[in-house]
Structures are given as C-alpha cells and as structure tokens.
C-alpha cells in the first residue's frame, strides 16, 4: 500500500514536470510558426504588389499594342447585344437557329440557346 502511494505520488510529479516542459516546448514551436507566418504574409504582400503592377491597364495596353502588335477593335467589330435567355417562339419548331453571338469581354463566351 505504502509503495503504491509513493509510486502514484512520483507519477503525478512526473506528469506535472512533463506538462511544464511541453508547454515551453510548444511555446517555442508557436513562436517559430509565428515567424514563418509573418514571412509568408510578407511574401504574399510582395506578390500582390507585383501582380497588381503587372495587371495594371496601362501595362497591359502597352504590352498588347507594343509587344504583341494588337490593335483596339474598329467600330463595328465588337457588337454588344441584349441577351435574351430564351429564343423567341417564332424560332422554335421551324428549324431555325438563333445567331451565335459572342461578347468581346472577359465574361465567359455567352451563347444564345
């Protein structure tokens, strides 16, 4: 009985010490991760600045016209239409298809059904 009590007391003591040691160890680990987080955040900001500068409309226009030899569309080359989701009834059942219209914008290529 006596030995059991001693062993239990020792075990409790060890548990307590182990817990303290773990707290300190994890504490250091947290600090290391925090430093890593800051570094990653810096990298993210840096990339965001770069992305933003590279996608600026001025640069895109310069690259498009200067490097790639693109030109702004002439009048009449871009046709914007009001998209109506359904083909008119008169088209249906008569073997007619609606003209396919593409929008010259960044939107996904819309197609009239």
């Amino acid at each position: 009985m006596k030995t059991l009590t001693v062993i239990a007391a020792m075990a409790l003591l060890l548990l307590y010490v182990w817990e303290r040691v773990e707290i300190v160890r994890i504490g250091y680990q947290v600090e290391r991760l925090k430093i890593k987080k800051v570094a990653l955040e810096r990298e993210r900001d840096e990339l965001q600045v770069k992305l933003s500068a590279l996608t600026s409309p001025e640069r895109i226009a310069r690259v498009a016209t200067g490097k790639l030899g693109l030109v702004p569309p002439e009048r009449g080359q871009v046709i914007l239409v009001n998209i109506k989701p359904e083909a008119p009834a008169s088209y249906r059942g008569r073997g007619l298809t609606m003209p396919e219209v593409k929008l010259a914008r960044n939107d996904p290529m819309w197609k009239v059904p």
């Binding site: 770069k50 933003s52 409309p57 914007l80």
Partner: protein, 576 residues
Amino acid sequence: MVAAPRRGRCIVVALVLLAGFVVVLFRLFNLQILQAAELTVKADRQHRKAISVQGPRGSIFDRNGKVLAINMDVPSVFGVPASLDDPSGVARHLSPVLHVRAGEIERKLKQERSFVWIARKLDPEQGRRLEHMPLEGIGVVMEGQRFYPKGPLLSHVLGFAGMDSQGLEGIERRYDPYLRGEKQMVVLQRDALGRTVFPKGLHDQTPSTGHNVILTIDEVIQYIAEKELEEAVTATRAKGGIVIVMEPRTGAILAMAVNPRFDPNAVQGISADRWRNRALTDTYEPGSTMKIFVAAAALEEKVMEPSTLVYGENGHMVVAKTVIHDHERMGWMTFAQVVQRSSNIGSVKTATALGEERLYRWLRAFGFGERTEIDLPGEVAGLVKEPRDWGRRSLASIAIGQEIGVTPLQLVTAVAAIANGGWLMKPHTVSEIRDEKGRVVVHVSPQVRRQPISPESVRTLSKILEGVVTHGTGSKAAVPGYRVAGKTGTAQKIDPRTGAYSSNLSVGSFVGYVPAEDPRLAVVVVIDEPQTEAWGGVVAAPVFRRVAEQALQYLGVSSQEPVKLAMTSRSEMARP
C-alpha cells in the same frame, strides 16, 4: 555490530548534510517568502518586454477588387558604429547591394553614434541579399511601406500616405481613421537568451490591420479617361485637363482624371500644385455649359418652350454699355436652337426673362455655390454671388457662364441630375469599408440631396441637349450607335496680369451623358488653356466621344441602333 568510531563518523556526515540543507532552506525561505514580492517584480521586468506595435494600414481597392494601394514590409538597414572593427570593409561589401557609394556608407559608419540608418525602405530583393551577408554591427529591420502598384493611375483621388503611415491627401487622408492600423502595446515573454516564448494567456496579441476601402472607381474606365485626357492635352498643347465620369443614377464616381499626373510612390519634391485634386479644389468660369441650367430654369418656370422664338440680333447686342457677341450672326431661332447653337444673346434674353432672383435660386438649386459633399478632402464651394452683389451686367454674364466659379465636379453632378430624371445626387468615391476579415463596416448607399427639376422638364431639356450633338456645336461628341446629350463650353480666362478677359487663354469643355434615353454615364471634359484651338466643341467634345465609346463597350451597354453588320446564322456558316 558497528564499531563506535564508524558510528561517530556517520553522525558527523549527517550533521554536515543537515547543516547544508538548513542553509539552503534558509536561503529559499529568504528568497521565496521574505523577498518574494520585490523579486517577482524584478523577474517580470527581465522576462517581459512591452513594445508598441502598429498594425499595418488597410488596402484600397477599385470596384472590382483590383488593388490600388497596399502596405508591404520592406527592409531598412542600420549600423551600430561602436561594434564595427572595419567600417571601410563593411562599406565596400554593402555598397553594391544598396546602390550607395562606399564612401558615403563609410562616412555614416564612422560617426560617433550608437545607431545610424544606412538605407531605409529598400527593395525586398535587396533585403534577401543582405540576409546572406552576415556582417557584424549591421542590422536589418522591416518597416511598413505604402505602395501604389498602378503608379500614377488615380493618383489625385488616392492621395498618398506619409513615412509614418499617416494619410496626407485624397482617400488616404479622408479615410485615414479607417485605413490606419490599430496601435497596441504588446507584452512579450522572453527566456534567458532573450528569445520570445509563449506569452502568458492564450489570446492573440497581434494588433489588427486597418480596414480595407473599396472605391466606386473602375480602374479600366479610369485608365481610359486618363489616357484620352493625356492625348488631348498633348495634342492641344494645353496646360492640363480634367475628366470625371459619374454614374448618374447613384452619384458614384467611376473615374476622375486630372492632368498632369504624378506618381504617389515618389511624392518628395513634387509641389502641392501638382497633387491638388483640381477637379474639386479649383473653380473656373464654365462658359456656355452654364446655358444648360439657364434653359432648365426657363423650362421649369415655363418662361420658354422649345419652340418659343427668340431673335438673335444678328449676333450683336448691347447690355449695360458692353457688347455681347455670338460666334455666328443669328436672326430668329427657336429656344431649342438657342441652346443647340450656343447663342449668347439667346441665353441672355432667356435669363432676362427669368429675372435675377429666379436665376440665382435656380443656380443654387442645381448645387452651384455649395459643396457637393463628395468624400474627398479640399473641396471648395465655388462662387455664386447673391443678386444684391450683382452689377448691371451680371445677369447677362452669368447667363453665358461668366462671373460665376464652378468646379468640374459640381458641373458633372448638376448634369447627372438632368440625366437621371431630376435628382441631384451626392457624389461619392467609396462604396464600402470592410475589416480585415471581410466583414462590411460601412456601406455607402446613393444619397439624394434634392430634386430641383421635374421629370417633364428634364425630358424636354434632354431632347434639346441631344440636338446639340446631332446638329449643334457638340457634333464631335457623337458616339456612333448611342444617343448623346450634352453641351459644349468655351470660356475665356481672366489674364492675371491685366485682370481682364484674355484673348488667348481659354478653357474648352464638354459635359454630357449617354445613352440619352437611359443614361449610364455622365461625363465632363475640361481642357485648360489649349493652344491649338479654343472651342470646347473641338478640343473637349472628341475626348468625351472617345471616353464614352470605350467605357460603354467595356460596361457592355448595348447600342440601341440596329446593327449594320450582317449576322450569319449557324446554318449559313455551314454552307460552303
């Protein structure tokens, strides 16, 4: 059986050990109980370090979430001269990385000081190269730096922030309380080596980032406006110019271009004259664009109808002993033609029919002489004198846009009121403010200031203004496929040397909206002191057309006119 001497030795050893323990116990008692309070304070002072940390400044985005201003940590290099053995050697190593002459660095390192800045706010790439170069007595710290990745784009609206991250101009200044990061004292727990260890308590102590500001500006429309303005200013060899694009229904500013531009990343050495947002801080005499509002008043007060006949006096009329001219000799014309052909005499006669009090009241109703209350700093109210301060010629002068000072912003806001059916909106550049987690802190809804004019009068006036573009002075503003309504303006400037109207200094402008039947854009173009040609219809109207044409296409506003190109159906395309 243990011998007596051996037993004696055991007792001696036990006593010695006991004495030792007593000493230790006494010391423990002394430290842990008697001096406990005092020592705890001392230990805390050594383990803990309180530092003041400022959270990073929030970012500024355009309406589509494109970054316009952002904070980034960049390296700054300092030296500790006292701990340097070989300043010239260190200087030689640093020189190629920092792009500073070795002699210059050496001079700094030889100063009798404990701390010197060698170079501040460097490129992150330079910081990485310095990391691989461990030099005794040289250190790198990270400092927050404001970046405007798009360079001069929108510079006059964004403004800029100072070295210590405080907003000094534009949005940066007006929204500084939101953008500014939180300042907080942070307590760090340090170990014997000075490393930071886990702080007591689990709560996160990092100070929060400033809020993010989302603008109503669209960077693409802004770019279109700046590009076209720049081209026009260069082509006409003008002093500068302004373009504002507004959404008439909401008062949201889509673009505000001021020329010449500046780069907010490098404001040092640039004069206030250059970065002042002249679209709202400077007034000018608007000239004929003012005739829109004289006409609006006359229609609403039923003084005139579009078909009312007005005699043009053959382009020559005497008012208060001064002569008022028209740019062409006109006889009888309808009231609609007065506006469309921009007749000074017709407009003066309209104003005379209205009378001083009514004209004044109407100008004030459209927001002239008071701030638009836009959310940008530095706005002026402009100048509209009260009738009791008017001279004998004032009524005639004001009718043709002289003796009155307006800002381009006031002008476009007032025209937007005609475009949207009569509502004078409060212009704004910010649509939302969000915290770092993306939660909306402030949401800006369109605000009506008043309704100065009835929808019926607006419809009549709008038809007249469409005529300005289809067969009047503003033909160069016509956007193919869309109905445009607007008005040209050409104003002489007052020569600062003589105090009289100058014969060669002028301001050419155009203000209008498109599509006239359902306006999506209200645009004002002001070209300051063009050298090649003075007329607003020649220098400013083409800028309106080019900006409107590209912006409408970008926004996906479809043309109301039938498309002239033949469209092929799939079956036709399949044929050989």
